[in-house]
Symmetry: C2
Subunit: 353 residues, 2 copies
């Protein structure tokens, strides 16, 4: 690991326990029965522990959508052809993808990052040009990336989190696009959590049963060939990850270093977040999991990170769509803590017994 | 049942099956794997069947928060004193309650309805004055309301739905405030669904075990004394319901008559919605259940209505707080259907196999 990633990790401390407790105490003074706002209370308290009590609201919100291609698509692991990655990037730039609609709805700034798409975008295309590879190598035969490339992708993400802080962003999200990247995420899940490949592997964008079996076999081979070192998250990223996963891992690390809350979208984003937590455990304090993905490996990642998804809407699209739905809920939790009246202030009687 | 409620019911037809199918077909043309938006697709399709394809977005959103008092509070069924009902109405009017914060966040117009609060609000207080009773009678000894009062409360709600349509509202929500009203809602649940009282009764705003047992016993007595007729929803409302529940039932009926989607908040609102469905089964097509309430009777009501809650955040506050969180999700589902690019339009390749 380069000094620079290490440096970032050294800046990361746990969220503020004293502020968390102060937020918990404040919840009891607000005009509602104790605990009646359920997870909104827990989310609000966590926000306070990250960014202060009361949380500064409303929050400027940004979603980084990182895109990259994957050499492993040569193994027939996806229901969609590889060119869909760059085609969807153009769709993002035109504002027509699901994530664009949901982000407009929630007033979230979407920034598209070319982390490693196998396509030459025009230099003036309104995306963040951070191309590290033109698609990874097929990790069935060896590492997806060199360690240097993996490191470069993480550093790019750390830099994006710093830029978000400088731009006054209060809540960050990470999402992705990359045909083949559920295969990488499942491999990371198995490598990092020890979850069996069968349980970590799902149908992605819509494989049939034969496709699913092929995908699991590909992942088994990739893990046998690469033998990623779970004690070394950058090794896992380089061997069976992807460039967009590295960028998202970097955003998660950088967000924690900047004391910014960061929302992981679905399965692939959560795999990136889990790599960041493996790199630096206190990162988990800054992470919110947007929703329960339909991908079966997601549960193992959520357990590894130690956070519970907020929404459960049967989604499995990625792009940041789940994050775009969860970010306003997180912000709402912050606003409740910041804006609700107290029993005393509103002259409302407390519990009778 | 008065001719006027019957007239309203006669105007209610099922949502448009052909439009539902057209929406399902359109989902397949949008740039995402089929089904990958999970429940957002189902919600968007239902919206289209109610109000047209594509749904008109963005939607003006309104939440009616109906308040009333309950004579059964004399039995010690609530953790909070009765005066909290009117105190919270003032809190709503001052904008300090949880529902106000969440509604501001989601740009929802909140209108507070005095359906039967035991307090004389000043005539110029900015609420909708629809007081039918100054608190219901204690239904342990006989009906909570006369049939005429129950009918009047429903008609007031129908009128509010009509007003919403005239004001250009596209999405309605119902929420409530009323110390003691989980007791009424549990009695309605048992009466309407046949669910045992034990399973329909929960801790409300925070009863202890002894309080919970007392509450269940009170409900058993109320049902034995009143013997509500489950084939006659207005009888159930009059005997063991409440004025705010009647108003919400009316809003649900009126919304269906106006072909407006309507979101039931939590346990009590869903009890009102279930009464509307019992009155006129096609109402279920216009109903969305905001969230899974922590109150145990909610599941029986959801089953009776035949809809699945959208969110599950461990909430049990009422007021319309769950509706205020779910309404933007429902609107988002409509926007996806209306605004997403198609594979053809965005030149994105389809499934490879």
């Amino acid at each position: 690991m380069s000094e620079s990633i290490e440096e970032t990790c050294r800046r990361i401390g746990p969220a503020d326990r004293a502020v968390l407790e102060a937020a918990q105490a404040r919840q009891l003074s607000l005009t509602k029965p104790p605990g009646s706002l359920g997870r909104l209370e827990e989310i609000g308290n966590r926000l306070a522990a990250i960014c202060g009590l009361p949380p500064a609201v409303p929050m400027a919100k940004r979603l980084y959508v990182a895109a990259a291609d994957h050499g492993v698509t040569a193994e027939g692991v996806s229901a969609y052809p590889r060119e869909v990655t760059y085609q969807m990037v153009y769709n993002f730039l035109a504002g027509g993808a699901a994530v664009n609609v949901l982000a407009r709805h929630a007033r979230i700034d979407v920034q598209v990052v070319d982390a490693g798409v196998d396509h030459a975008f025009p230099p003036d295309a309104p995306l963040l040009h951070r191309k590290i590879v033109r698609g990874t190598a097929n990790f069935v035969y060896g590492p997806a990336m060199t360690r240097g490339q993996a490191e470069q992708s993480v550093l790019a993400g750390i830099d994006l989190a710093r830029a978000a802080r400088q731009d006054g962003i209060g809540l960050l999200g990470i999402g992705e696009m990359g045909i083949g990247n559920t295969t990488a995420a499942s491999a990371i899940t198995a490598a990092l959590t020890g979850c069996p490949v069968q349980e970590a592997t799902g149908r992605g964008t819509g494989l049939d049963a034969a496709g699913l079996a092929r995908k699991a076999a590909v992942i088994e081979r990739a893990l046998a060939v690469n033998r990623p070192d779970r004690g070394d998250p950058l090794d896992v990223l380089a061997r069976v990850g992807g460039a967009e996963i590295g960028v998202m891992m970097g955003v998660a690390l950088g967000a924690a270093a900047e004391r910014l809350p960061v929302v992981a979208d679905g399965f692939i984003s959560t795999a990136a977040a889990a790599l960041a937590v493996a790199c630096c455990p206190p990162v988990r304090d800054y992470l919110f999991l947007a929703h329960r993905s339909e991908e079966p490996g997601h549960a193992a990642l959520a357990g590894f990170i130690g956070q519970t998804p907020i929404l459960d809407l049967g989604m499995r699209l990625g792009e940041g769509t789940g994050a775009a739905l969860a970010m306003p809920v997180i912000e709402a939790a912050g606003r409740l803590l910041a804006e609700m009246a107290t029993f005393e202030g509103a002259r409302v009687s407390g519990k009778a017994r």
